[in-house]
Amino acid sequence: MSNKTLPAWIDIGVIPLINVCLAFIVSGFVILLIGENPIEAVQYIITGAFGYGEGVGYTLYYTTNFIFTGLAVSVAFHAGLFNIGGEGQAYIGGLGVGLMCMSLDSFMPWWALLPFAIAAGAAFGAAWAFIPAYLQAYRGSHIVITTIMFNFIASALMVYLLVNILIEPGNMAPQTRSIVESATLPSMQELFAALGMDIENSPLNISLFLALACCVLVWLLMWHTRLGYAIRMIGFNENAAVYSGINTKRVIVITMCISGGMSAMVGINEVMGAQERVLLDFVAGAGFTGIAVSLMGRNHPVGIVIASLLFGALYQGGAELSFEISTITRDLVVVIQGLVILFCGALSLMLKPTIEKLFVKLMSSNKPKENANV
């Protein structure tokens, strides 16, 4: 019954794939239940997500958010910490990005502002993660509960700030003034136009490159630094980490701050890129999707990019689907997301014993034949 009976490719390749397929099969039954054709729905989702330029743009724009939040959840997961607070950290991080952009946007162009915006967003997001982390490490309160509470506190705080303080004078909607055009991130359309290529317009902006860079950074951090080693060791066995001289409390706090800072990069994509201002609920559930992404991607940057792309396609394709089939809305994507979390997360161990037995049987039935050939 140990892990050793299964080779790595089954453990990290086949089992997660089967789990994802199960999630999709159950989603198919949900579509059948509401009287629509699942295969037709899949076709609409695929063409909506990848069939034309604007669709691809939207898909990659959603993907960018999910990469950030997925990485954030995965970093904490490696230390055995379950950070449900990505939503709140991204929200507060976006506030940091917005405040920095609005105070400097008339003085400098976007490329000079970007490092400041990243620093401010990361600082705000990390600060929002710091309190639960400190309470977990030094006061013994559970990180899951405190990060849930902090999501709600963040949401109330942002409503208060946007309605009462940051609201653009004369505007009815609770949102800030827009950031000066020269200080917002160039969209992919502008970038490609500068290179002489013409692509369709979408909210996709150069944050995608930042997201991919973050993937490399997280990979380097987790597997090629002392800190990453300490983080993974705490996740593997906290007592062993203590005995080997790691200051676990300190590392837990640092890990959560990295996680919070990573979530906050959603603010770069949304506030400085797509929306060009801070508005209510701009995170729109990306923090929770990050949990599904991280579980599905097995907490590895490569897996996270693949899972983010899948969820990006589901979000965009789901929007398209709701235009085509009137009885289906984007809430179907929420159902799929819940099923992915259920099968890839909570039930991830369900199939392991069966597959182990199957594998052992296959191996033992193969062996005599090999011997016979020799």
Binding site: L135, V144, F152, I336
Partner: protein, 324 residues
């Protein structure tokens, strides 16, 4: 003076109405967490229950059939939670989260497909709802100063599920502290090995605990959509499951203190409505957002160990592996 009494009575009256789903969910969480199963899925089970109750009540015209449907759906979600975390030893937080997200998506998806009202269910009236019950003598006593006002304005005039919610608290206390099942339930949340050694099935005990949680969340859901409101509305649980979880922790996993925490959080919510646009002496106008965040802030402060100490059941969140 009588004005003040009237305002107080009406604020407390709405406190009771707002607290009812919190109390039911907090007791649900108590059963589950005392047995060692973390339940952040209170929210999802309540939401699914609310949808089931409103949908069935709308079709059949009976609030009681709606309640049954809510119980059935909520218990089956609880069993799913149990299947993932007890049988397959999955992560309990992940499973609870999956249930919340699933409920939030499924209720709207099915609601739109079945009722074509943008995720709402048809408006309920008459027997399809739990209506207010006037307790005996409430009308006759209404004119009696103080006692009459309190009796007819505060205690009488709620629907059946409100009274049921207040009954569940002593019943929960009795089950958890006075019965053999309760003793074992508490033991399995503290030290499952010991319970197993005594020849009692840890799995079956925990399954019964999550079923209890499912039943209570189902009632809470039915209350939301067929008693407090007259239809299911998208995301109508609006974080109440999480507030109930906070109240459970704030009440240190005990029925009586959890009830007080629910009433406190309910009172804060009732007060928020009352204080909107009113300038208080010295403080001025309190932002409603601050009042909304207060339950969460208080819980975090409690968890940080600044007001007493909240000690969770020892084995909570740890899947039990039977030794071979």
């Amino acid at each position: 003076m009588s004005d003040f009494l009237l305002i107080l009575v009406s604020t407390l009256d709405s406190t009771i109405r707002v607290s009812t789903p919190l109390i039911l969910c907090a007791m649900a969480g108590l059963f589950s967490e005392r047995s060692g199963i973390v339940d952040i899925g209170l929210e999802g089970k309540m939401l699914a229950g609310a949808f089931a109750a409103a949908a069935v009540a709308a079709v059949t015209g009976s609030a009681w059939l709606g309640l049954l449907a809510a119980l059935a759906i909520s218990v089956s979600m609880a069993l799913l939670h149990g299947f993932a975390c007890i049988t397959h030893r999955g992560n309990q937080v992940v499973s609870g989260l999956a249930i919340n997200i699933l409920a939030s998506g499924l209720t709207v998806t099915l609601g739109i497909a079945w009722f074509h009202q943008g995720g709402q269910t048809p408006l309920l009236s008459g027997d399809a709802r739990f209506l207010a019950i006037d307790l005996p003598g409430a009308l006759a006593l209404a004119d009696v100063p103080v006692i009459g006002t309190i009796y007819s304005g505060l205690i009488s005039g709620h629907n059946a599920l409100v009274y049921l919610a207040f009954v569940t608290v002593p019943v929960t206390w009795w089950i958890v502290y006075q019965t053999r099942f309760g003793l074992r339930l508490r033991a399995v949340g503290e030290n499952p090995q010991a319970v197993d050694t005594a020849g009692i099935s840890v799995f079956w005990l925990r399954y019964r605990a999550v079923i209890c949680a499912g039943l209570l969340c189902g009632i809470a859901g039915a209350y939301l959509s067929t008693a407090q409101n007259a239809s299911f509305i998208k995301e109508m649980s609006a974080g109440k499951g999480y507030i109930a979880l906070a109240a459970l922790i704030f009440g240190k996993w005990r029925p009586k203190t959890a009830l007080l925490a629910c009433l406190l959080f309910g009172f804060l919510e009732a007060l928020t409505v009352r204080l909107e646009g009113v300038a208080l002496p010295l403080i001025g106008e309190v932002p409603p957002q601050f009042m909304q965040a207060l339950p969460y802030i208080l819980t975090v402060i409690l968890l940080a160990g600044f007001i007493g100490k909240a000690v969770a059941p020892k084995a909570v969140g740890v899947p039990y592996v039977k030794e071979r």
